[in-house]
Point group: C2
Chain length 443, copies 2
């Protein structure tokens, strides 16, 4: 079972920063992250995984000023470079958008992190779908779904092409003859496509794992297809066992149709686990965080979800009839159905949604949590999990001290790293250089 | 006297990587950089300064494969983040181009480095003028000079504007009331200009030095004007004392005309110093590196300089008559004049040019070097220097062990850091937030 430690600054739960033990300045406190990474490495997690958004999240100023999400936090690549310096074995996965970046920069920064960490970098390839991001990059609105994925596909092609600029043994560095690299081992990309023209070569050597591991989180049709063709790790949000198993089978079969081995793509659903020494203690931990969701934050999140401003309705009253919406059709319908099914007030509904924001949430003792992870793992629903501690550092400590030993007792999780690189630890194949490609002179 | 340590991977001299003591894999060896940074910090240098180019340098494959310049090396921001983790006081200056970047990314990454290092980051603002870079960013040729500087000016305006998204004390993080930031202290940029539309705010807090220090190296008319308006440190290449003093006076007077104090902009020329325990030893060190310039590298560099391919001419023969050129007019004329004046062969000419590439080169004992630095410093030519060790780590060790103590004996250089931030050590004013600006709601 593979395990990544997925970190929002103060934790995954929307109210995490208000937890009594939370580091409220977590987003700009690098010692906090250093401690988290060291804890995760001691527990032999595969990787630290950082989300990202190139904008503050939308919402009313009242809600923004209470939510603490993407408001003031480190940029992931600079932060992971620091973490690379203070760890030795754990992988380092950062998110970078294909929508508002240039492939040469992304290829180079991840190659640099991969070299600095001696083969521990991973790139979480995402597309940007919020207007807040578009407005920071000279656009009036965000790219529509199809265009985003077309750009993402070509972006990934350019990045992987740039990562093949050099064969593994290109750099001879022979001082006596004055030969720094073997000209035969340089491969110039010369990419000309719909969205990008990139000549190359990349001015960075290959790393001990060949190239960074590619992670992706697409769940739509085009998203899954892109993942099946390019991703080595798939990060996904699934609620029920049935959905989880179906998604897993779908991704593996799409990968095989794309000519890849099912083993070369690992599916790691997200899980927010509240762990206690007893079930009651775990439930208390959950209830404590839920009670800290400020109504302004919950209402703003729910309003965004249903495409309608609920801030003037009483939070302890019922969900009003909502006007039809174009942009949020399916999420609106799901929210209405959930409120109806469980007879929820507005508060009840946002409490269901805000805490985990779509990710599987489980509450219980170490045995309970291990049972549930084991079930999904053995049922063919997961190759492992992205563990999203509800609050930090406490939620990570709970998982490491209680759940990890239980998983080890069951023979499900490693006691020592298998390899030196992220790729080796994840059990992914080494991406051999396509050196058969005809070498082209740089000019 | 302010001193930065300016590092190319193996050293500033073109043949540095071939030096017997050089780290030939310097560009991808982070332990090498960690050692350099620690040495520079022990000597109380103001900052480590890294150059950058987002492409491999142009030239014949034969010359490229021998020159080792920008071929395989870390990206500066990821590298400086690592260095931030292993140092405490020294500044961290990285180059980032305004031509092929987005201001939001640059503002954010430097803000992140500034927070990680607790106020030690500097941004060296450059424009990109090579075709090799253009071709990596979906362009057929590089932007012409005027357009590059117009874009750079607006870019700098957006970046500094984003760095003012938050007042110093914006983040109250009051767990009890659930208030993370004070909405009154958020300032949304809403920039709409010729090249960029950027709403903001930046999702990063201000750092202990307010914002990163801005460094610039413009020497042309528009370059100097931009520096006078925006730069806090000016990096420049000057040969003679007269030129140095004239440039210094020019920059300071332009800054005053732009409404700034002359003290708020520090001029630091580059200097490549060959230091020995005797003059003869210093000269030997110089001769040794000069003898390691491979003819293919020297010819390629000189050909680029004069705009004419010299590779088929005998290196020990005279410079042939050169056809007129548009792109390289002034550099061609300077090269022809230098060859004529000193009666140089092609080899003699490229040896003059290749080693230091325009920077002031001095050779001598510690006293000689200190004399020359002191002369320029006291004549009003420099507030300090960008020290460019010819080879690394040896050239830095020589400067630190021999020249720095001599400068201290003369009372010219610090024995302890004056402040905690780069800005404090450079003696630059704190950039107070223009909080009088009307606060605007995020939405």
């Amino acid at each position: 079972m593979k395990l990544n430690a997925f970190f929002h600054p103060a934790g995954h739960h929307i109210a995490a920063w208000r937890h009594p033990d939370a580091q409220a300045d977590a987003g700009v406190n690098f010692r906090h992250y250093v401690e988290l990474a060291r804890t995760a490495e001691r527990a032999k997690f595969d990787a630290v995984f950082l989300a990202d958004t190139v904008a503050m999240h939308e919402g009313s100023l009242e809600a923004q000023s209470r939510a603490a999400r993407y408001v003031a936090q480190f940029e992931p690549l600079t932060l992971l470079s620091v973490i690379a310096a203070v760890t030795e074995r754990i992988g380092l996965i950062a998110t970078a958008s294909t929508t508002y970046n240039e492939p040469y920069h992304v290829a180079r920064k991840f190659a640099s992190l991969d070299l600095i960490s001696e083969g521990r970098a991973g790139w979480n390839l995402v597309t940007s779908a919020t207007e807040a991001e578009a407005l920071n990059f000279s656009r009036d609105k965000h790219l529509e779904h199809g265009a985003r994925y077309e750009r993402a596909r070509e972006f990934a092609e350019v990045v992987t092409g740039l990562w093949e600029s050099w064969e593994d043994d290109s750099f001879v560095r022979d001082k006596a003859s004055g030969r720094f690299f073997d000209p035969e081992k340089l491969h110039v990309l010369n990419h000309v496509g719909e969205h990008f023209q990139v000549r190359g070569p990349l001015n960075a050597a290959r790393s001990p794992q060949g190239r960074p591991v590619i992670v992706q989180a697409g769940s739509s049709g085009p998203g899954k297809q892109l993942a099946a063709e390019t991703a080595e790790v798939v990060f996904t949000a699934q609620q029920t066992l049935e959905e989880t198993v179906a998604f897993y089978a779908d991704i593996k079969s799409l990968a095989e149709k794309a000519g890849r081995s099912a083993d070369a793509i690992k599916v790691l659903p997200g899980v927010q686990a509240f762990v206690g020494r007893s079930r009651a203690e775990a439930q208390d931990k959950f209830d404590q965080l839920q009670s800290l969701i400020h109504p302004a934050v919950g209402l703003s999140l729910l309003s965004g979800m249903v495409g309608f401003d609920l801030s003037s309705y009483p939070v302890d009253g019922p969900l009003p009839d909502l006007p039809e919406t174009n942009d949020h059709k399916s999420r609106q319908a799901l929210s209405i159905a959930l409120a109806k099914r469980e007879n929820l007030t507005i508060r009840g509904l946002y409490e269901k949604i805000a805490g985990a924001r779509g990710h599987w949430t489980i509450i219980g003792s170490a045995e309970d949590i291990a049972d549930q992870l084991q079930e999904r793992f053995e049922a063919g629903g997961a190759d492992g999990f992205n563990v999203m501690p509800p609050h930090l550092p406490g939620g990570l400590d709970d998982f490491v001290e209680l759940v990890v030993p239980e998983l080890r007792r069951r023979g499900l999780f490693r006691t020592e790293y298998e390899g030196r690189t992220l790729r080796e630890n994840l059990g992914l194949p080494y991406p051999h250089h396509p050196a058969a490609r005809v070498a082209q002179a740089a000019e």
